[in-house]
Symmetry: C2
């Protein structure tokens, strides 16, 4: 269960609040991108970073000399937000138009992972999430590459989750308006893989579909002229 | 052209920086979600908000009593970040794995739009972007609904854009490793429309494809068991 702290207590749209840890995990795992707050000299800055989860921590990485990571590794309180947009709710009145979405807001501070083996393990975990089996085929990182990579971790101990998946919620008096009403869904399609030119036709295309479930597609985008 | 200020000068990955205003507009128009920074009592908070663009401003809206909007309408410096994830670059070494993305970071402060007609116009503009023609069919907002809605605007005068769309960039010495390399693309599919049960078969389904170009789909998700 997600804890309720002063920062994570949802005050608006309370019916959309969720408290299962697994829902938090699912949103983070599908999002890929964390929007992270940093205090800048002229006000706050929000930076998008690749982020992945292993157990109850979220990890980010970057070059050792990255300005963003320098700011975050000082241990300051920060916030990571993950958002998935699922569609529009098209109501019979302009006012009741709304959105389907899933979002997670994580509070805390980052710690640096210094141990080289642990860095290697966690970075490889990320690749396995993207492309199952791939770390057995690619060249793994050298000590020099690992040393050049900063890896930061934040625990998932203070977080809130909101999921909007309601249907159309029109005023009773608007139900007779002769206009279509319903939901316009958005979904993400992953794939198919695009081989580098020099390997085209010369190597088997791997199957990473297991990581993507219903989002995986084997067919090229056929909607270009729809 | 996007101006270069202290806050918008990109220091890392400078080859990904873009300076055309239209590229900023395109990212905002496709994103729908702005991740907005707020100063909280215990540190910064990043909130996802629906955001839309009309000419050179971005607009957000919410209930009059929203805590977030109360914070933003004080005119404090803030940051809005828009990110689109386009895919994974799968290289021959773990180290060179990377991502395709488009992101825009906007700095400034919000102003309140007080004028009721202007609020009506801008909110209807948003609906037209989502569903062209729809404001001619739905019940438009009443003065009471408009009064209950806070609408905030931020000018697009200080912003930076980064677009990562490079191919696989392996070390020369890794090119002979017998592993597949290439790009795993992500794309968003919008539609088809899902009618509310009570109108099923009783009303024509509108055509909003013009707003979505190649992202529009008329076919239900057929990848569920792929």
């Amino acid at each position: 269960m997600l804890s309720r702290t002063n920062r994570t207590t949802i005050k608006k749209g309370t019916h959309k609040a969720e408290f299962e840890q697994q829902k938090l995990y699912d949103i983070i795992d599908e999002s890929l991108i964390a929007h992270i707050a940093l205090e800048g000299e002229q006000g706050p800055v929000v930076i998008p970073m690749l982020a992945w989860r292993v157990d109850n921590h979220v990890y980010i990485h970057g070059a050792k000399n990255s300005r963003l990571l320098r700011g975050l590794k000082k241990g300051a309180q920060t916030c990571l937000t993950f958002t998935l947009f699922d569609g529009w709710v098209l109501a019979r009145s302009a006012f009741h138009h709304s959105a389907h979405y899933r979002s997670a807001v994580v509070f805390g501070s980052f710690e640096i992972i210094e141990d080289t083996n642990e860095k290697d393990r966690l970075l490889n975990h990320f690749i396995e999430q993207i492309a199952p089996g791939r770390t057995e085929e690619v060249r793994l990182s050298s000590p020099r590459e690992l040393a050049a990579t900063e890896l930061l971790a934040i625990p998932l101990t203070e977080a809130s989750v909101k999921i909007g998946k309601h249907g159309v919620n029109d005023d009773e008096s608007d139900l007779e308006i002769p206009v279509w009403a319903g939901v316009l869904p958005y979904r993400t399609v992953v794939g198919p893989l695009e081989t580098v030119p020099e390997l085209e036709g010369k190597i088997d295309i791997p199957d990473y579909s297991a990581a993507y479930g219903s989002r995986w597609s084997n067919t090229p985008n056929s909607n270009n002229n729809a």
